[in-house]
Symmetry: none
Subunit: 127 residues, 4 copies
DNA sequence: GTGGTCTAGACCACG
DNA sequence: GTGGTCTAGACCACG
């Protein structure tokens, strides 16, 4: 189940993308699994099908799912997970302003690593 | 010096805010320092004064700078740095989707901590 | 309906903020109500959408309304009304110069309380 | 002694005006008293003479002080204190948004009157 | 000189 | 449809 948060700064279609990746990470979705149809997921999340469609298109572009004409959308092979330098660089760019914010709050590097530890535990614990 | 990146997903005024916080963290701006005037910074960054004004107003709201009537804007005291639970929670919420993305790339927790180490070193090294 | 007064010393966006709070106080706007869209209100008040947008953003920052992506702005829950010491202190600071002015006019404390009584009656009477 | 507060939302020249009226209300300045010269007060308050001059001009316009060419500025007769309906109306207009803000905070009318009581006591107590 | 407000209009992302 | 950002430029109060 994906939880949408209207207060979240992330757009809804991004929250859907992140939520599906989260399920893959947690093993709740494995390669070959059929995704809920756009309309199904849209009605479950109470959003317009347009929004889910946008998320699925982006997920396919990223190689997370594959769309099979007339059959539906399926989780793609793990091998497709991108690990390129580009992705690495993008994450670094997202992380940098967070680190500055953290230092601005005069919190230590170690505490940030502990926070990350906590987040990972929360992700794993709920499998 | 603040570098604006038009490719960056962050709006310009947010990049200015982050850039100024970065300078505070790096010690290039210390409490009491006078900020460049809105018009000065605007012409340096080649943006309209309105955009810089928006960034300065948000920075004042966050307690990073104080606006002195008719004199200009000044870096405020370190004591004003907020460290509340709310700020902590906000950072956690920004960090979580990054962690998921990271796990999705099948990178280890330790490598993420190393990346954070690298970012902190880059911030400190350039003082 | 919000009435803008060009003679008023308050900026337009502050008059809009105050006018909306007035409607909440009067019960003309209740939690969950959808606000007029920025463009609607702007054309009603004959100001630019930018000015209404500034008012709405400040109202959201104050917790009076919530902005829902792509849907519009809505009056938020009563529980969100801030009642902290900071707000109390701010009001006291605004009230003090008025009291001095009042005393300067050699009017009595009691008459000031009566004036306040009148203002409250006008606010309640018009529901 | 007038205390200027750079964080105050009121412009400095208004703070000077209010501060002098406060002294009249408190009886620290009585009709006939000579005011400090513009340059004296400016150096005491660490502001430019222009700012004090602006305050004195407005005070004279309001009939609080009179300027005697070559002699200086003097506190005028009490009789000159304006008590017209215009002034009353102006105060009411300043008070109304404060009352709305107060009601918005869900505080009672009685508590507002108590706050006013407190402010008056602080003004009288310090004579 | 300084910052604050406002206009008129554009373009964009999101739903 | 919705709000968010930005430009280019104006005018103003304040110091």
């Amino acid at each position: 189940m994906i939880r949408l948060n209207m207060q979240d700064t992330r757009p809804i279609y991004i929250q859907i993308i992140d939520g599906i990746k989260e399920q893959v990470v947690r093993g709740l979705l494995v390669p070959g699994d059929q995704m809920p149809s756009i309309r199904q997921l849209a009605s479950m999340l109470v959003v317009t099908p347009n929004t889910v469609s946008k998320a699925y298109q982006e997920l396919e572009r990223q190689g997370v799912i594959v769309s099979v004409r007339g059959k539906g959308n399926f989780v793609s092979e793990q091998a497709k997970r991108s690990k390129g330098k580009e992705e690495y660089q993008k994450i670094k760019e997202k992380l940098q302003p967070i680190c500055i914010e953290w230092q601005y709050m005069q919190e230590s590097k170690e505490e940030l690593k502990e926070l990350i530890e906590t987040i990972f535990e929360e992700l794993e614990g709920s499998v």
